[in-house]
């Protein structure tokens, strides 16, 4: 029998029981759709990290307090209190270091006039715009003087300015409140847009780190120190020197673990990539389970179909169908189920990925590879789960099948 004919028969048989066919396909559609979406999310996150490293510059070094790798109990980064502003000053003296900015962050309710807004408050230093290559569009960043005096001055991210003062309004010199503290607006940052992970980078304000420490949180330590190495090629060497210097400063005995962490952008990226890879694998695994369930659904319905059509099988055999013809007929039916389900599932996965990007700003990326693999997987599912019912059909005895009630 020709293949065209076999497919025609399969389509006809499937269209006879439309609801059942649709429900069986739904299992495949959800499975393949989920796999495609999860892989797209994973790939998107990977791409995002890549581009983030690109934009952050490879000469960035982050020094954070605590060392969860050594402490067994995993604490949030910056939860430890071992980094102090003096460490930042010392780091600035290390060979190869260009810029240094300690960070001490908080959140706060912001009020200007009758408008209010809640955003992140980043306490940082004057080097911050240089490290991030991020200029102001109005006014200027705060000064070393402001940092030294823990002045209540604030530089607004574009989104916060829009929310509190309105778009394109010049708020320089205005007084606003963060929590209960009055701050004077000294600048507005240029629009940066979304970060690689879909966060609005303009939804934040910058104040001197000393202000956050002394006036807002009443603490003596900083969460993090961001460093920029003078040369991209000497980044890891610089990082090593910072670590060695900090061990001496923190009086850590030989053999004891660090109470801080120094990581270059490459290392941070590697860790984050590994994390997203694990996440992707996990999510794809879960999605794969739904694909498996879809496959079992196909097998189930094919078994029902073989039983229902026992007389038909007997008849086909009586008029000359060989075992292999019957096998092929049912196998093709299963594969058509899984492939049509797979194609719709790919479309669904594509739509879902695009939707997530549009709605939640999650980066997604659908590669041709993923589509081909999903398609192949769908076909394989059909063959794998269709084979047993098809073989059962082919092994029927024609007379018994004809007699079947």
């Amino acid at each position: 029998m020709s293949f065209v004919m076999i497919f025609r028969i399969a389509f006809k048989a499937l269209s006879r029981n439309k609801l059942r066919t649709a429900l069986t396909m739904l299992g495949m559609i959800i499975g393949v759709g989920a796999v495609i979406t999860m892989v797209a999310l994973g790939n998107g996150a990977q791409d995002a990290i890549d581009s983030q490293i690109q934009s952050a510059g490879t000469n960035m070094i982050q020094v954070s307090a605590g060392n969860f790798a050594a402490q067994g109990v995993r604490q949030g980064q910056g939860a430890a209190s071992t980094l102090v502003p003096e460490d930042a000053a010392a780091i600035a003296e290390v060979e190869g270091v260009q810029y240094v900015a300690p960070a001490s962050n908080t959140r706060g309710q912001m009020i200007a006039g009758n408008l209010n807004w809640n955003a992140q408050v980043q306490g940082t230093d004057v080097d911050f715009p240089l490290i991030r290559a991020w200029p102001t569009q109005m006014g200027a960043f705060f000064t070393p003087q402001d940092v030294a005096t823990a002045a209540k001055v604030v530089v607004l991210g574009a989104t916060v300015r829009d929310q509190l003062f309105g778009p394109d309004v010049d708020p320089i010199g205005q007084v606003m409140r963060i929590g209960s503290h009055p701050f004077t607006v000294v600048g507005v940052m240029a629009v940066k847009g979304q970060s690689s992970v879909g966060q609005d980078q303009d939804d934040t304000v910058f104040v001197p780190y000393s202000t956050v420490m002394k006036k807002m949180r009443n603490i003596t330590f900083v969460q993090q120190i961001t460093v920029s190495a003078a040369s991209a090629t000497d980044t890891s060497g610089t990082a090593d020197r910072i670590a060695a210097m900090l061990r001496v400063r923190h009086k850590i005995q030989t053999g004891d673990p660090d109470d801080f962490m120094v990581r270059t952008m490459d290392e941070i990226a590697a860790v984050r990539k590994e994390t997203t890879q694990t996440m992707t694998a996990l999510l794809s695994g879960i999605a794969g389970v739904s694909l498996l369930v879809g496959g079992i659904g196909i097998m189930n319905i094919m078994l029902v179909s073989v039983t229902e059509r026992t007389r038909e099988i007997g008849l086909r055999m009586a008029i000359g169908a060989r075992g292999r013809d019957v096998l092929l007929q049912f196998l093709v039916e299963a594969v058509v189920l899984s492939l049509v389900g797979g194609i719709v599932g790919i479309a669904l996965g594509y739509g879902l990925s695009q939707g997530l990007t549009a709605w939640r700003q999650w980066p997604t990326s659908i590669s041709a590879d993923a589509v081909v693999v999903a398609f192949g997987f769908a076909a394989a599912t059909g063959v794998f789960f269709g084979f047993y019912p098809a073989r059962k059909a082919a092994a029927l005895d024609p007379i018994e099948a004809l007699r079947f009630e």
Partner: protein, 249 residues
């Protein structure tokens, strides 16, 4: 005349649990080309079992079966399927048509399993020809549930004929039909037997239906107990002409 079917000491034993059922206990029979053989016998005498074996749907427990001088007992499953497809046409009591499939598609079915596939248009034409032969040319696109029992049986006959078989096997083809429709179906069989020289093996437990054949073989308890030529053969054509109202089926 040449021998089409030749069986020697045919035995078929079914084993159901501990019990052995002897469906055929040594059947010897020869059927010549062009014969219209009627097989009769009481229920359970082994008629259907016999037909399944000569139709290559089943294998004997022992004994030999030559079809066109070929030893069928030695054939593989696929070879048997090919024999069923090319040499034998089956007509069952229950019609066995695919529901929700048009008459013409049902008739075309055996062509799909031939060794040399035909083009769609050629298949269609051939199916139309045989449908016309059984007088159903105008019902080609009807589904089985839109046809009367007699019409459904004619579709089944058309399907049995489409591959130009040399043997037509019919197991109680009139079992579900009324008297007049039965005569019509017998008319088709007699026509095919006479005009196309097709060998017909008809299984029936009704003696008057058996008399449409040229020879009657009687089974009892898995054995042939009588084998005689029909002296006063019934002719469906004449009987139909004599009926008060002309058939419009």
């Amino acid at each position: 005349m040449s021998t089409v079917i030749s069986v020697k000491s045919l035995v078929k034993t079914y084993v159901v649990g501990e019990v052995e059922v002897h469906a055929l206990r040594g059947v010897n029979l020869e059927v010549q080309r062009g014969e219209f053989l009627a097989v009769t016998g009481p229920s359970g005498s082994g008629k259907s079992t016999f037909m399944h074996i000569i139709g290559c749907l089943d294998r004997p427990t022992s004994g030999q079966y030559f079809l066109d001088d070929q030893d069928v007992s030695r054939m593989s499953k696929d070879e048997l399927a090919a024999v069923r497809n090319t040499k034998i046409g089956f007509v069952f009591q229950g019609f066995n048509l695919l529901s929700r499939t048009t008459a013409i598609d049902n008739v075309e079915l055996p062509l799909l399993y031939s060794g040399k596939p035909m083009k769609g248009a050629a298949r269609h034409k051939r199916a139309m020809d045989v449908l016309q032969l059984v007088g159903l040319g105008d019902r080609a696109d009807h589904h089985p549930n839109q046809l009367s029992g007699g019409q459904q049986q004619r579709v089944a006959i058309a399907r049995a004929l489409i591959k130009d078989p040399s043997i037509l096997l019919a197991d109680e083809p009139t079992g579900n039909l009324d008297t007049k429709t039965s005569i019509e179906v017998m008319g088709i069989f007699q026509h095919l037997n006479r005009e196309q020289g097709i060998t017909v093996v008809l299984i029936t437990h009704e003696h008057d239906i058996a008399e449409y054949g040229t020879r009657i073989v009687s089974f009892r308890d898995g054995k042939v107990v009588a084998d005689k030529l029909v002296t006063r053969r019934r002719l469906a054509q004449d009987e139909l002409a004599a009926l008060p109202v002309a058939s419009a089926v």
